[in-house]
């Protein structure tokens, strides 16, 4: 088994095919979308492949260490940051092909007009623990 992160971007991904911002959808379209995501997660739990799903607020803060005894420096949010993560799903699947298959299905979530968004999702493998047998 291999774990993969399916990463969804607010910004930074190539444009989706059905690229209408969510606030221009009808309320029903939003409900349908949310239900699709829930059903998708429930289905993956049923197949024994679901690990985690989380959504992130659109705005965050940059933080860095500022030396001994000093409070951390904070900055942002930066409106110009190119890459902005919207959320993720973590799956535990048989291999890369299955991860791509599932990401494709997730990308088909309905958006404006009830049509699939075709949004780009980033599929990233997790680094594993080292195998016990090494040679």
């Amino acid at each position: 088994m291999a774990k993969y992160l399916l990463l969804k971007h607010y910004r930074g991904a190539p444009a989706a095919v059905n690229d209408v911002p969510m606030d221009r959808w009808t309320p029903e379209e939003i409900s349908t979308h949310v239900q699709y995501m829930r059903d998708f997660a429930a289905r993956l739990e049923g197949t024994g492949e679901f690990v985690d799903a989380q959504a992130l607020a659109a705005e965050g803060t940059w933080v860095r260490y500022d030396g001994e005894g000093r409070p951390p420096v904070t900055d942002g949010p930066f409106a110009e940051t190119k890459d902005l993560i919207a959320g993720w799903m973590v799956i535990d699947v048989g291999g890369y092909e299955r991860a791509v298959e599932l990401a494709g299905e997730l990308s088909a979530a309905p958006g404006a007009g009830g049509q699939p968004i075709h949004e780009w999702l980033e599929v990233r493998p997790f680094l594993t623990e080292p195998p016990t047998i090494t040679e």
Partner: protein, 385 residues
């Protein structure tokens, strides 16, 4: 029994208890749940009042749970037939039934991850929660994985002979995926392989058991206190577990003597040659290359050829290793890592450093990535001096 509950003893009884229920006509999925319930009940009540016949106790409790589970549903009539036919809980044939369970849980219709989970639960007696923690997935996900697996094999006849090779692949996976949790999966894989070796006389089962014991013996030495990987050549060999090595070598020799070589015996032979060398310098690389030749013949695996190139580099020099490597597809996983190592041995530090860094970018696990990055950093620091 002492009042201290021996969890391993308890779990070792799980497969034979399950087999008794299935032999009595219980369906596999419900019977397996019933055995889990009985194990949980045993953990609760045995410390205060240990039974004289632990297995008989488990069979009785599990059977009762099975009857309870089927009472409410449509299977009532069938259940009543079963109760009428219930045999005396006398001596149950343990060995063959356990073997059948291994076959069922490693059935070729199951995905490897499902076979692993089902084997750990039904044969290993682990709880869903323990398995979920070991594989770092939510308990609900693991529960579904197991129940789907049970449904998949529900139509398989219990007395159908299975293929030992599929069982060995599952046990190998359990051993090799070094995930953590409160269960030591490597130790659990050894326990299950030992149990299998007792149930079936097969040189490859012995070969896998030997392979596991020989690698398990090195475990304490292969990780530094900070968690980083220590390569074989740099391990403190005084920390290798000599009892585990001795047992592995003995099992392997008995298996090899039967002259039915298979890939696990050949892999174990390589591990035994490493175990046999008092220092890394004294390793018999010529013999190791010969075993890799056998492995290539047996498996025709590109990964084996890659490891063979490393051994050739040690036996005949890094140039010979690089020549062996040149015959292989450079898109193979770990190809760059092997190339880096051979160039390192050959003294071409610039190339080695570049390849170590490239290999680090493609490393599938964190410890290996860190190790390769350190190797690149070591060479770069030396070159800039």
């Amino acid at each position: 029994m002492s009042t201290q509950l021996d969890e391993l003893l308890l779990r070792s009884l799980a497969p034979s208890v399950l087999a008794v229920l299935v032999r009595r006509g219980a369906d596999f999925a419900t019977a397996e749940d019933a055995v889990q319930d009985a194990l949980v009940e045993a953990v609760r009540v045995w410390p205060a009042g240990p039974p004289r016949d632990p297995k008989g106790w488990l069979v009785t409790v599990a059977w009762r749970r099975f009857i309870d589970a089927t009472r409410a549903d449509a299977a009532r009539r069938r259940r009543e037939e079963l109760v009428d036919e219930e045999p005396e809980p006398g001596p149950a044939p343990g060995v063959d039934d356990t073997l059948q369970l291994y076959f069922l849980c490693a059935h070729p219709s199951l995905a490897p991850s499902s076979a692993v989970a089902l084997t750990l639960r039904a044969v290993g007696g682990l709880t869903t929660r323990q398995i979920a923690r070991a594989y770092l997935v939510p308990e609900a996900t693991m529960a579904q994985r197991i129940s789907r697996a049970k449904r998949s094999v529900s139509g398989v006849r219990f007395d159908q002979p299975g293929d030992v090779a599929t069982v060995l692949r599952v046990l190998y996976l359990v051993f090799n995926e070094g995930y953590s949790g409160d269960v030591d999966l490597a130790a659990e894989a050894i326990r299950l392989t030992r149990q299998l070796a007792a149930a079936i006389d097969h040189p490859e089962v012995a070969g896998l058991l030997a392979l596991m014991l020989l690698h398990f013996a090195r475990r304490a030495a292969r990780t530094a206190p900070d968690g980083s990987l220590v390569p074989l050549a740099e391990q403190d060999r005084s920390r290798w577990d000599t009892a585990s090595i001795a047992e592995g070598v003995e099992i392997l020799q008995a298996a090899l003597a039967r002259d039915r070589l298979g890939e696990f015996q050949a892999q174990a032979a390589i591990a035994a040659l490493h175990a046999d060398a008092p220092t890394a310098e004294e390793t018999d690389w010529v013999q190791i290359v010969e075993w890799y030749d056998e492995l290539v013949r047996l498996t025709d695996s590109p990964v084996v050829r890659l490891n063979r190139a490393v051994a050739v580099g040690q036996a005949d020099g890094p140039r010979a290793g690089l020549a062996a490597l040149a015959e292989l597809d450079d898109s193979l996983p770990r190809h760059a890592a092997v190339a880096a190592y051979l160039h390192d041995l050959d003294g071409d530090l610039a190339t080695a450093a570049r390849l170590y860094a490239e290999a680090a970018r493609h490393a599938p696990d964190l410890a290996e990535r860190d190790h390769l990055t350190r190797q690149a950093a070591r060479l770069n620091a030396r070159r800039s001096r």
